[in-house]
């Protein structure tokens, strides 16, 4: 069942292509003008949910399998073979098996959703995603009653992913959600951005998007989904449990041990963009019920 969640904005609010492609140039011009004119800062007011430029979204990425620099994924991800693509769905499901992407997409309804995206590094974007609800995919394979968690795994292709040469994290990248989080109507599997198919650097051909959690939870280029009865491994949590909790909900009150999470900088505003306050659950208050009775500073 698609369309269980809608934001106030509709597709017509998505910036037309000729504008989003040009915004950077326009802003660059403004910034250069402001500096030349001796002004302190250019007045670029970003509307709350004005999507970022396609250029920014596809060039400023964290996808360590392609390198740790923000520009590395855009440089190397074209090497990733995304067709054919299949996803192994196993564990506590009624119909386990290897599903081809076409097979899955033929049963899903693709919709557009404009979500805030907040990175654990304290920057953020607004992304107009295309995709379907994860709940629909889970229904397709039939989740058994004992399943309490969903585990995800990214492709592991040393020949196509130069970043795998370095032990930055334990490969392959894995992530997980509690089943009620996975079933929440906000949780989606993305297949595109700005109505274009996902590029490798953004997690082609299929990735998770959980907008109330830090970006690293939204695992990219998924090849395996496993339903389990115990908490699955999550890469950053494995690497450093003190800094990255299993839940990793966006929470301005719980700082990363090494930096504050109370503010964030929206990407794309140039040299004089100010920080803005970070919102609880990244502004998606409708998920608060999932965590009722939990101490979110303990289960961070």
């Amino acid at each position: 069942m698609a369309y269980r969640w809608t934001n106030d904005l509709t597709t017509k609010d998505i910036t037309p292509e000729h504008l989003y492609l040009n915004r950077r140039q326009i802003m660059t011009g403004l910034a250069a003008g402001a500096v030349a004119g001796g002004l302190a800062s250019p007045a670029i007011a970003q509307d709350e949910l004005t999507p970022n430029d396609y250029d920014d979204i596809t060039n400023y990425c964290n996808f360590y399998e392609f390198g740790t620099g923000k520009g590395d994924p855009a440089k190397h991800a074209h090497q990733l073979t995304t067709s054919p693509w299949s996803i192994e769905i196993d564990g506590l499901v009624d119909r386990p098996g290897t599903y081809s992407l076409e097979q899955i997409l033929s049963e899903m309804t693709i919709e557009k959703r404009i979500y805030r995206f907040r990175c654990v590094e304290a920057w953020s974007m607004v992304v107009p995603w295309n995709g379907f609800e994860l709940a629909d995919l889970l229904d397709m394979v039939g989740v058994q009653t004992g399943a309490k968690y969903v585990g995800f795994e990214t492709a592991l292709r040393p020949d196509e992913m130069p970043g795998l040469r370095y032990p930055v994290l334990e490969w392959p990248y894995v992530e997980g959600l509690r089943i009620d989080e996975a079933r929440h109507p906000l949780t989606m599997m993305a297949t595109g951005i700005y109505d274009k198919p996902l590029l490798g650097q953004n997690g082609a051909p299929l990735r998770l998007v959980v907008p109330w959690k830090y970006g690293f939870k939204s695992i990219k280029s998924i090849v395996r989904i496993t339903l389990t009865d115990r908490e699955p491994k999550a890469s950053w949590n494995q690497a450093n449990a003190r800094e990255y909790g299993f839940y990793s909900n966006v929470n301005p009150q719980v700082d990363h041990p090494r930096w504050s999470q109370s503010t964030e900088r929206r990407i794309g505003g140039g040299l004089f963009q100010r920080r803005q306050p970070t919102l609880m659950f990244n502004g998606y208050d409708e998920v608060a019920g999932l965590y009722e009775g939990m101490d979110l500073s303990e289960s961070f």
Partner: protein, 203 residues
């Protein structure tokens, strides 16, 4: 004529003041990239990091002067003060970008300095550099005599803290910051008296 001789000979044509003039170039390029947007959609972070990294490179170059003379016969002694002052200048700009463009919120700045170990470490390194920069002149050397040498050994600590600052702020296991810290360690080990003594004997 060996390479070392050639380099030493070239120094006659490269006055110290030209180091100061040239030192403006990287900073201007970093800033220009940020203004024009060619450094990407998050220019503040890139500017902050480029300035910090260049400062660390200058600190390392400063530390390399003595080992280069002992082990390779290359004498860059004449430029050492300039290198150190340029490093200080870039650390200062790095700090300024963090204060004004990056954080920009007074309460958060103070909280970060106190609560975030990597920022505390960076801040301490900067504060240790202040007396070094102030006393980087002939008058101070004459006035302080032996104390001057002792005080300026603090450069070792500053470079170690700078390298540590970079390692501490990285996510996951990353090679680049570790290479900087390793280089600093290496250059300090080359200064250990037994190593230096043996090399001087051999010469």
């Amino acid at each position: 004529m060996t390479i070392a001789h050639k380099i030493n000979g070239l120094q006659r044509y490269v006055p110290v003041w030209s180091v100061y003039v040239m030192s403006v170039i990287p900073g201007a390029l970093f800033l220009w990239a940020g203004i024009t947007g060619s450094s990407g959609p998050e220019p503040i972070n890139v500017l902050e990091r480029s300035l910090g990294e260049f400062a660390l490179q200058m600190l390392i170059l400063g530390l390399a002067v003595t080992p280069l003379r002992i082990w390779a016969g290359i004498s860059l002694h004449k430029y050492r003060r300039a290198i150190g002052l340029v490093a200080f200048g870039y650390v200062f700009l790095h700090l300024l970008v963090w204060l004004v463009l990056d954080v920009g919120i007074l309460s958060q700045i103070w909280a970060d300095i106190v609560k975030r170990p990597y920022i505390t470490v960076g801040m301490v390194a900067f504060l240790l550099m202040v007396p070094l920069a102030i006393t980087s002149n002939n008058w101070s050397i004459r006035r302080l005599r032996r104390t001057w040498k002792l005080v300026h050994k603090m450069t070792y600590g500053v470079a170690l803290l700078g390298g540590l600052h970079f390692v501490m702020l990285s996510k996951g296991f990353q090679l680049e910051p570790l290479m900087y810290l390793g280089t600093v360690f290496g250059l300090l080990i080359l200064r250990l008296p037994p190593l230096q003594y043996r090399q001087v004997q051999r010469n």
